[in-house]
Symmetry: C2
DNA sequence: GTCCATTTCTCCGACAAAGTCGAGGAAATA
DNA sequence: TATTTCCTCGACTTTGTCGGAGAAATGGAC
């Protein structure tokens, strides 16, 4: 009964990071990916909160990984986008693409 | 004292509509532009609230237009992005572009 | 001409949703 | 058991959303 009103900006970013990272998508890696690619500085806490909400909305799923053989190698929790998540993401990305169609990086209209 | 953390999704959309509409950017036209281009259904109230917040943050400015010679032609309030607004918008749009670089409309990685 | 219904547009107040942070806890290794 | 890596939780701020009220203008009935 909740015909979803689209993704927030950060949810979009997190979902995109999931797509980009593929099998390697877990909390810390996601944070790093966003910082590296989007140039945006966020805390891991923010990422986890968002991940949890996305999971509650049925847009992503998670699974626990095995412990890695390194100091402090705690089990990671990997995330992947579900079909509904991909659909939502594609919709909002494409909306953005339409809105920015024909705009230069400086936002001029050619 | 407020090292700004970027724009929300809707703020982004409204700002983009301003850029696209140029001199014709006022409340109702902005709503229509977003509906037409982004395919997203919003109320005018939502747009005004966002516009007001953007103005308070110094990202857009407004001026009153003249009454138009048509039934109910109340004076419009035109908005335009300020330098800081364009900067913010360009930053978040470019971040999105980097994150979606190489992704198909269906979000596959080629 | 005067009223008032109608149209166009803007403002406001309240609430829901998303975003953010920081401290703290669990599990693994050395 | 000290250290490292990662995840959870709770509190709070910022954004997003709506619906209805209000202001300004016109057109027509009388």
């Amino acid at each position: 009964m909740d015909v979803n009103h689209g993704l927030g900006e950060f949810e979009q970013l997190v979902l995109l990071a999931l797509v980009r990272l593929g099998a390697e998508a877990y909390g810390v890696a996601i944070r790093d990916e966003i910082e590296r690619e989007a140039g945006r500085d966020v805390t891991v806490g923010a990422v986890y909160t968002t991940l949890l909400r996305l999971e509650n909305k049925g847009l992503v799923a998670s699974r626990l990984g095995d412990p890695t053989p390194q100091r402090g190698g705690r089990r990671k929790k990997y995330y992947r986008p579900l079909a509904a998540g991909k659909r939502e993401l594609a919709a909002s990305v494409n909306a953005l693409r339409r809105m920015t169609r024909g705009l230069t990086p400086g936002l001029e209209l050619p």
